[in-house]
Symmetry: C2
Subunit: 698 residues, 2 copies
């Protein structure tokens, strides 16, 4: 056996973290401000976090031990305190939103803030606004948004809940005609909300079905919180693996519930006192929530905007995949295992190729997605300005782009969180690592707000339409919308694709171009499939991914150009990350690149090897700065709430400390002993004694 150095494994963790931090060559503050979009944003967050961490109610260390009901009650207490603090400190809407997001909690009030309030603001008639807006804004009532039903989700046209106009009393009558019309999955409906915006088919007195419209309905009494007559309401139960446990997703059934005519959200469509329908003047301009104007699948600008906002939230510097990457990189920096390094210590787990190959691309995507979120906000603002002047030309492309980005960012984010968790080996499965929670809370993003597989189809439809236009044009296409710039390559005047050599992978422009060519050729092949021809079963998924990755790659090219604003060392390291993003994007696209012939097997060895080695080389270039780069995300230990992600690296001490809080450890002897364990042992002991006796007799 080789002689082993005597080290205290626990003390070594702090030494390793110090060493890793001290070799940082970037300026952490500069990079942090770059990620947050300026010192001001960061300062605001710091100021708010200082207030928040002082609240004992907001402590997160014990929430893993709570059952679901207690988690819901704790969240209600947090909401109450948060809205109190808002008044105490006179927070603006932005400050309140930031404070709320800093809590890292699933709160039912979020549905009021991001779904109910915007619908009210965007769709409420002047009369509704006059009577209710102050109550909505001040949270004198708590709202929710009731769209999905037990039987129908994405296909809004098939919702079954009806709202029938009764001219005699000037009322609408809401009704749930079937089991499957029960509203379902409605956040904050289960036990919290007092009011709701209900999607229901508008039925006119002549029986004509005008398709889904929105109605403002009181659900619970403001006196005692009891459900109003005719309304059956409750919680739909726990979610997969305890996800979003503190949230009361609910169901509701309406048994001929009457509301005044003025409770229709009628800013854009109205029913007159007599019962005739007044067409909205500008159908496409109506927005708010996940709104649809007619009973069709044409998404409105409102949906597009909501999706854009959701996306930008998922791309913030404190989003779940980023927190996961921070924890995993810190832990694998101080965790040592296996082979010996030059100092005779076991190697740091992060130094194994199979580890850094998994974790560093996550870091690179984190940087890219944060910048992408910023682009999205900018593009949305632009579109909203044009919408204000009734120009809807940007809408279809923006919608398709956001569908593609939503699928791409969420699918990848889910994979990345789990990859990070698994890179930590056994301890990653502890709740105290914190990644299980990050995963399960991020998970529904793949199926909520548009199932990713449905959205893929919409991306492909938009692309093929534009592609046909490009292919049928004999001249260069004058102006392609930015998200579809890659289609310029199909115009007759375009150059040939680049020849791939080892040096291709060191040239940003070439890699971007390859990813654009890949999308262009795939969309072209698909568009040209004869009507009689068959397409494979996964084609939408492959195409949507190629299209979205082409767009993102082009954006990353821009991001690299814009790095000149940073000090040179910071620009170099962040530039490495952006290039790593591009290369791993190309690596994951290898099947496509090979099958459309952009990379070819020439007989001289494996044509993918140059790319793979370039990925490894870039990883090694980034490696010395990983602790600095994750520090730049600005997570405090309070905010990360992970024993394995502690900033000082003392992971074993942190785990030990957390384990002492486990409620099962309060009793020296478990309450299960007397009724269950003891009887089993005693029966076994008696049986063994019996056998002994038998043996001794033989």
């Amino acid at each position: 056996m080789a002689p082993r150095p005597r080290v205290d494994v626990n003390q070594q963790t702090a030494a390793d973290m110090n060493a890793a931090r001290s070799q940082t060559s970037i300026n952490v503050q500069t990079v942090r401000n770059y990620l947050y979009g300026g010192q001001k944003v960061w300062d605001l967050r710091q100021r708010l976090e200082k207030i928040i961490v002082q609240e004992p109610l907001f402590d997160k260390q014990h929430r893993d031990f709570l059952g679901r009901t207690d988690q819901y009650i704790r969240a209600a207490a947090i909401i109450n305190r948060l809205t109190e603090l808002r008044r105490v400190h006179g927070w603006s809407q932005e400050e309140y939103n930031t404070a709320s997001s800093l809590l890292s909690e699933v709160l039912s009030i979020t549905l009021h803030d991001v779904a109910f309030q915007p619908v009210f603001l965007g769709q409420g008639s002047p009369a509704l606004m006059e009577n209710y807006w102050d109550l909505v804004h001040e949270k004198g009532i708590q709202g929710c948004y009731l769209q999905t039903e037990l039987g129908h989700g994405t296909n809004v046209a098939r919702l079954e809940t009806t709202s029938t106009y009764i001219p005699e009393t000037q009322e609408f009558e809401l009704n749930s005609p079937s089991l499957t019309s029960t509203k379902w999955w409605i956040g904050a409906l289960g036990k919290s909300a007092t009011h709701g915006a209900v999607q229901a088919k508008l039925i006119l007195p002549d029986g004509k079905d005008m398709g889904p419209h929105l109605f403002f309905v009181q659900l619970r009494s403001l006196e005692d919180h009891k459900p109003l007559r005719g309304i059956t309401v409750g919680d739909i139960g726990p979610k997969a693996s305890g996800g979003m446990a503190a949230q009361d997703q609910g169901f509701a059934r309406f048994d001929h519930v009457r509301i005044p005519r003025t409770n229709m959200f009628s800013k854009f469509a109205e029913v007159t006192i007599e019962g005739s329908y007044i067409q909205p003047p500008h159908a496409k301009l109506s927005y708010g929530g996940m709104m649809y104007i007619r009973a069709t699948m044409i998404p409105s600008a409102g949906w597009t905007i909501a999706k854009g906002r959701a996306l930008s939230i998922q791309c913030n510097p404190k989003c779940n995949p980023l927190a996961a990457a921070t924890v995993a990189i810190r832990y694998t920096t101080v965790r040592r295992q296996g082979e010996l390094d030059a100092q005779g210590l076991e190697r740091q787990v992060l130094t194994y190729p199979s580890t850094y190959y998994r974790l560093l691309p996550i870091l690179s995507r984190a940087f890219v997605f944060i910048e992408l979120g910023r682009y999205t906000i900018k593009a949305l603002t632009q579109m909203q300005e044009r919408l204000a002047s009734r120009d809807t030309s940007l809408l279809p492309e923006m919608h398709a782009l956001l569908c593609g980005l939503k699928v791409f960012v969420t699918t990848q984010g889910i994979i990345d969180i789990e990859t990070a968790r698994r890179s930590m080996g056994g301890h990653g499965y502890s709740a105290f690592a914190g990644l299980g929670r990050l995963y399960i809370e991020y998970l529904p993003s793949a199926t909520f707000e548009g199932d990713n597989f449905v959205l893929d189809g919409q991306v492909v439809r938009a692309a093929t339409k534009l592609c046909k236009a490009v292919l049928s044009s004999t001249s260069a296409v004058a102006e392609l919308p930015l998200p579809s710039a890659y289609l310029r390559l199909l115009s007759t005047t375009s150059e040939a694709p680049p020849q791939v050599t080892a040096s291709t992978w060191h040239d940003v422009h070439s890699v971007v171009l390859l990813l654009e060519w890949r999308a262009a050729l795939m969309v072209k092949n698909f568009t040209q499939t004869p009507a009689s021809g068959d397409v494979d079963a996964n084609v939408n998924q492959r195409l949507a991914r190629a299209i979205t990755e082409a767009f993102v790659a082009a954006q990353v090219g821009e991001m690299i150009n814009n790095l000149t604003n940073l000090p040179s060392e910071d620009a170099r390291v962040v530039g490495c990350l952006y290039r790593l993003y591009l290369l791993t994007s190309a690596e994951s696209a290898l099947v496509d690149l090979l099958s459309v012939g952009l990379i070819r097997h020439t007989g001289a060895g494996d044509p993918t090897q140059d790319l793979r080695l370039a990925v490894k080389a870039l990883c090694l270039e980034v490696l010395p700065n990983v602790i600095g780069l994750t520090d730049a995300f600005g997570f405090s230990d309070w905010s990360l709430d992970s024993a394995l992600g502690v900033s000082d690296g003392r992971v074993y001490e942190a785990l030990w400390k957390r384990v002492q809080m486990e409620p099962m450890n309060k009793d020296e002897v478990t309450p299960a002993y007397a009724p269950y364990i003891r009887p089993m042992l005693q029966r076994g002991q008696a049986a063994a004694q019996q056998k002994m006796k038998l043996k001794s007799r033989l």
Copy 2:
């Protein structure tokens, strides 16, 4: 708006399930017996399930509502009852194991059964056996297996716990010299176990460190269950996303704890009364648990056997990925959404290509893995027979194969469960769908019992060693061990790889050969990398996967040959599944097939298209039988415990029924209202009133 047929969406579910079941062309019983390995096995399971479902204690419908402590107590009650039933019915070991597995619960007693008891049996000295075996076997004591420490997992050589022999008293003294030496992650240790098999470095009186050995240590009193003096023991807290909540994984520290000399598991290595070490006579023959003979990383036959057993358990016809596939296929059969079908109803979700393309390959893997599990058991038996006659020649290959299969089966199984869950859209995120639980309980298989990324390295090491031998041999290699049969292709006498055309994908032999060639060429390229050359960071993962898939493909070829034992229609349909497995295996290997030049871009369109269309065609061939095929797994509704997987298809009724059990729905008004929700609303109402007043004054 198109006229819509008036259907009751809820009633339609049962009609759809009936229609799907009635179009089954296979004989469900025959296929079921094929999957279970005979009617007898099935009958035994049925007989035991009948007993189990009658026990109110084993009801699963309320467990989702329990907090962790209550889940642990419930599990203890179940164990107590299960061991009682064992006596009542006089169950054999096999019957007891089957009954235990049918419960689908995480039980701490499993660690006694599969880890502690085998160690005792395999390593216990005659004296230990004499004194304790009856107690162990009758569960008069409850054991656990203490290997992993806070600071070290896979690298057993670095465990820090010591066991020092004291000749004066003829005792060993167990000690935990550091924080990181704390035993950690030990199943059943937290609150249940009375005794343990402890891995500790054996220190001789002269101070010599003999590396890890196993010791039998009493942990808790048999009088009152209190921890014995010098032993600090407790639960390590909740796991990620509430996984294995009912299991009390624990920690333990030893403060100079003395045990008699005879408590060493000394069947193969012993310390004499005077304190000298007696070498084990046949080091490689020692087995049991996750045993290591010396302080090295050489895994013993015991580990190999344990891994094989674990693998075969994961491949049984009621394993988690299979349950997930059953639920998802049933639900997407009755869930209708989106486009209209020929009858004017919305399409069944399963009929969308993007859905069946995701679900049917999971079904195909299910069938393949069940058969693979059977192969594993057979190969293990063969190896054990040879070991009995001291022939260890099969050991290294068997070890490498099992490493590869473990990685492959678990990695794929985790992906498959989540893919199935996501295919169900929003409702898949409900706990009542049951897939969240299946996922989170299967998840640790990727990091426990050997981290998958570490195991990959062992697969590659074995393959390159053998590959070098093949390449340096001038004649055909006489006899390659079965798992490495693909390397025969590298011998000088081998034929050239097959030319790929559209018809290749319809020929089983060609597809198997392609997958074997892929592995052979990749391993060859890797083996021939010059010492100065660089390899990419992910090479072990890609190679291990290729090697394992080549072996599995060859086995599937055999499985297809053996289908002649089945009636022809059953053989045809199961054969379609096996071919689907092979084609999706090839599809996932496309990057490799293209980069080693087995498939080439010839300029005439996309060379991967034929394969992709063949996959789709096979899916469509299997589709009419999917309900029959999932029925053949033999899940009862009780066993699946999923509202979306109910056999009669009435998913909405089942969801509604489950939701009524939610404890939060017991109170009409939540207890959070008075202390938290009301104050928030009242403050908001007051603020709104204030604003109104101000406005009215203006």
